[in-house]
Symmetry: C2
Subunit: 381 residues, 2 copies
Amino acid sequence: MTGEKAAPKCRKVMSAAIPTQSETLTLQAALPLDCGRSLDGVQVAYESYGKLNEARDNAILIAHALTGDQYVASPHPITGKPGWWVRMVGPGLPIDTDRYFVICANVLGSCMGSTGPASLDTDGNPYAMRFPVITIRDMVRAQVALLDSLGIKRLHAVVGGSMGGMQALSLAANFPERTAAALIIASTARHSAQNIAFHEVGRQAIMADPVWRGGDYYAHGKGPEKGLSVARMAAHITYLSEAGLTDKFGRNLQDRSEKTFGFDADFQVESYLRHQGIAFTDRFDANSYLYITRAMDYFDLAEEHGGMLANAFAKSDARFCLVSFDTDWLYPTAESRHIAHALNAAGKPVSFMELSAPFGHDSFLLDVPALDRVIEGFLKQ
Amino acid sequence: MTGEKAAPKCRKVMSAAIPTQSETLTLQAALPLDCGRSLDGVQVAYESYGKLNEARDNAILIAHALTGDQYVASPHPITGKPGWWVRMVGPGLPIDTDRYFVICANVLGSCMGSTGPASLDTDGNPYAMRFPVITIRDMVRAQVALLDSLGIKRLHAVVGGSMGGMQALSLAANFPERTAAALIIASTARHSAQNIAFHEVGRQAIMADPVWRGGDYYAHGKGPEKGLSVARMAAHITYLSEAGLTDKFGRNLQDRSEKTFGFDADFQVESYLRHQGIAFTDRFDANSYLYITRAMDYFDLAEEHGGMLANAFAKSDARFCLVSFDTDWLYPTAESRHIAHALNAAGKPVSFMELSAPFGHDSFLLDVPALDRVIEGFLKQ
């Protein structure tokens, strides 16, 4: 492996530097980007689990979601919480680390060790808004460079939920020789007008915060926490189902028996959302949020391939599996069906199923035993 | 009529004072509020159309929505735009001003002439956050006081969409002798956890804006426009359907043929939302937005009546009509059905229908000819 252990250079500089346990690869070649620019010295921070076999054909790449990171099955270095998919990745689990070599890399543009807007440009200052606008395909280019460095020519599978599913689709479409299977969960081949609208609210909330300072907040010790918190709150609503919110919170009051006739968090759902917003600012860089949401909004796999989604898969010989959740209104089942139809039109092997789960979009991260079985079964084929 | 023509005292003081054409009633008695406090000298600004007949039994009260106002069929004094329901209210229209005496009053807590947080307290300064937290029932109390002043004992009907529907429900439940009919459109008898969550995002966006200054921005010439704009953007998404947004905007670019790889409004939907946000700040007071969203979140008509919605209607002898729209995900059909079931359980006459319209929650304001026919027919019965 050519990955070298290095201190992360692009951590959120206004928070106390916390050493990452992640391996970090520094790309030797400039990374070309869809915008026409390229980036020198890109770093890719990643975690790996299990062992690459001699044939180097047992690797599974897991692609993370918007605010996810490489700590798929390792404790998060800032929050101390267990990895975000410990229920799925480990010895004897559906993504079995006794069997597979599992890799998860922090995406380009993020803030957990891979190069992003908080990283230092050649002048020694953070890129901030000088960072180029990146795309999902650019993220995948960085991941493919990582596979090269690890000597992995072809993955056993690429797996991702939400934005991770977009990367899985993009890898299968744009680097068709690099994977034998693609598992896309709760995702979409394009961002809808409503998806873009919610992201735009979040971006405007961040940019409206005077502490954002046009993105140049790193030297000031504090980021646009209020704006980022509002952005997270708005997004968080879209990750949950209406029924799930009602079941979990309903109109229950928070630590009180009567409404206070004030603007405190009288309702549990208010208290919960405020907490989600504030906690997020401890672990995420606001500029990364701007850049990654932009990459998602720009994502339209058909557009990249002459306007026909089926064309995107023309060169792929991968097996595909698509999973949606019946309560996911962010990327509803119709979006997965749309991909399945395109794969059918392209004559590619695809299985597609909608699972029933009460948690909305977040179902892919939560306790849905049917998902475990689908993943385990698909990977073993 | 005891309503006296008066300059509005509670207009948004940081905008140029624009004389209202509305009649303004100043209540002689203190208005009791659900919070336990009462308000002296409450003003109620209202518009009226048509003529009250000798029997004084042809009056229809229209209750407006969150960001609506009394200019139901008159040009808006700030924007110059036609009234918000000119398609419904006028001579020969479904709410026929040749036949009915139509009243629409700015709600308590708002900013178009009725008393709200921007109004002056007895010390000569705006209430700001000293304004009491009000409820939907408090708004209705002010409207009933207006009816008293106009000598109207019993309405022919009370009509409202969205928050207007909440007022119509509250009036029929809490002042059952005051109306012979209630027409509730795209509304609900209680705010759900998701409804509260979206409002909380908006409130946090306003309060995060440093220009908000704890509500005391009136003397500084400028309100928290950025925060209010973000709040409006988030709310606006909930007023439209996903399919409607896709039909109207899809992924169309705004005045450009290529994505710019930047953070300008590349997509039409971004440009549209930003415009909605900014335009709103010209005509609405941020503190009013806080207070009125709070009143809506507090609304739970069953809770006011021992936890049983059917009990709320026990004393009513009004006819009810409930209308929902199939694409409304803010107050979906299930909410109207819930009210219909309660009315059935209480043995009250109710008709309930779901109309098909592509515009989401905003359908009640837009071109849905089936709604015209329902309203006209129900009022004529």
